[in-house]
Each structure stands twice: as C-alpha cells, then as structure tokens.
C-alpha cells in the first residue's frame, strides 16, 4: 500500500538527508581533486579550467546549494533540539536565515 506523508517537516527531513548524502558522495571527489596539487599543480589547473564549462558550473552551483541546504537544515535541527523555543519559532527562524542565505548566494553566484 502506498504511504502518504508529504508534509513540510517530512520533506525537510528528506531534503536534509538527500543533501547530506549528496555531500558525502561528492566529498571524496573533492578531496581527490585537491590532492592533485601535491604532485602536479598543472593537472589541478587542467581540472580547474573545466569549471569554466557550463555543466561544471551547474554542478558547482548544485554543490553550494546542497551545502547551503544542508547547513541550514542542520542548523534548524540543532536549534530544534537544543534551543528552548517553540517548534514553529525554530522552523520560521531557520527558514528565514536559509532563505536570505540562499538569495544572497544565488545573487553572488550570478554576479560572477
């Protein structure tokens, strides 16, 4: 039987989990690329020029987005768990911060 559960808190949970998973999968790659610097700065450069490509730029934006989403999802959870506010207050506060952060990041990335 199908299970109905699409309500805001559940979606927030899913988003946090998927972003965390995405970050964890990307992280080894990220480290691996940086490690190139150890043996060969040129290789790193070669990779870095890739970042000019739109697709890579998209991926990069995606990563920043994931990181931002996960960061604020995480801060929301930490506030929820450890701060003595009411649940809606915490959600609104986190949403407000996340919203403004996302807007400013997007703006900055656009500006580049």
């Amino acid at each position: 039987m199908k299970v109905a559960r699409a309500h805001p808190l559940w979606l927030a949970y899913l988003l946090h989990r998927l972003s965390g998973l995405g970050l964890a999968l990307f992280l080894p790659l990220h480290f691996w690329v940086l490690s190139y610097a150890l043996n060969d700065a040129a290789k790193l450069d070669a990779f870095l020029t890739l970042t000019e490509m739109p697709l890579v730029k998209m991926a990069e934006f995606g990563l920043v987005f994931l990181l931002a989403v996960h960061l604020f999802g995480g801060l929301r959870l930490l506030a929820l768990e450890w701060l003595p506010w009411s649940a809606p207050q915490k959600t609104w506060a986190a949403a407000a911060v996340a919203g403004s952060f996302l807007v400013s990041t997007t703006f900055l990335l656009q500006a580049i």
């Binding site: 989990r17 965390g20 998973l21 970050l23 964890a24 992280l27 080894p28 990220h30 480290f31 691996w32 940086l34 490690s35 190139y36 610097a37 150890l38 700065a41 040129a42 790193l44 450069d45 870095l48 020029t49 970042t51 000019e52 990069e60 920043v64 990181l67 931002a68 960061l71 995480g74 801060l75 930490l78 768990e81 450890w82 990041t105 900055l108 990335l109 580049i112």
Partner: protein, 109 residues
C-alpha cells in the same frame, strides 16, 4: 560508543563545521571570481598555519560527521545492522579522513 555518544559527536561536529562552511562558501564565491587557478589557491593557502588549522579541523569534523550520518543511512535505507554497519562507517570515516588529510596537506604544506 553508545548511540547517544554518536549523536553528540555528530551534533558537535556539525556545530564546529557550521562556521567553517560559511567561511568556505564565502571564500569559494570570492575565489571563483575571475576563474580558478591552482596558483591562486595555493598562493593563498600554502604555508599558512591558519588555513592548515582551518581545513584540518574541517576535515576531522566532516569525517566524523559524515561517517555517523552515513551509518544512519546504511541502517535505515540499506538495512545494514550490527558490526557490519559499524565497520563500514568506520572505514568511511577513516577513508574520508585520509583523503581529506592528503588534500589539506597538498594545499597547505
């Protein structure tokens, strides 16, 4: 390590990472302007005790944090239990730490 200690470790590592992530994203946005180059990155970071400590702690925190997080996901979504799951997440944590240290060394040494 009890479930509660894992929880504390994950939350505390998250707390540690929060400012790092913000700075990191900030630097990325700054650095990305006018394109990235190895020289530019390395010029900023190499030999800097500050960046070494910054990224070093970041790597430690993220290895702990992600390993515990993946352990949860391995349990809930992959159905892994018991020793197998703990072992796998320890390997992930150590692996991340190894790769991360290598990267930090590469850019700051």
């Amino acid at each position: 390590m009890s479930e509660f200690h894992l929880y504390m470790a994950q939350r505390l590592s998250a707390l540690v990472m929060a400012p790092f992530v913000i700075v990191h994203i900030g630097v990325m946005i700054y650095a990305i302007q006018g394109g990235l180059s190895a020289a530019e990155i390395l010029g900023r970071t190499q030999g800097s005790v500050f960046w070494f400590a910054f990224y070093g702690m970041f790597v430690v925190a993220v290895s702990i944090h992600a390993a515990i997080g993946l352990r949860t996901i391995l349990g809930e979504w992959a159905g892994l239990r018991g020793g197998m799951r703990d072992w796998l997440s320890a390997v992930i944590g150590l692996g991340l730490f190894a790769l991360g240290s290598q990267a930090v060394w590469a850019v700051t040494a």
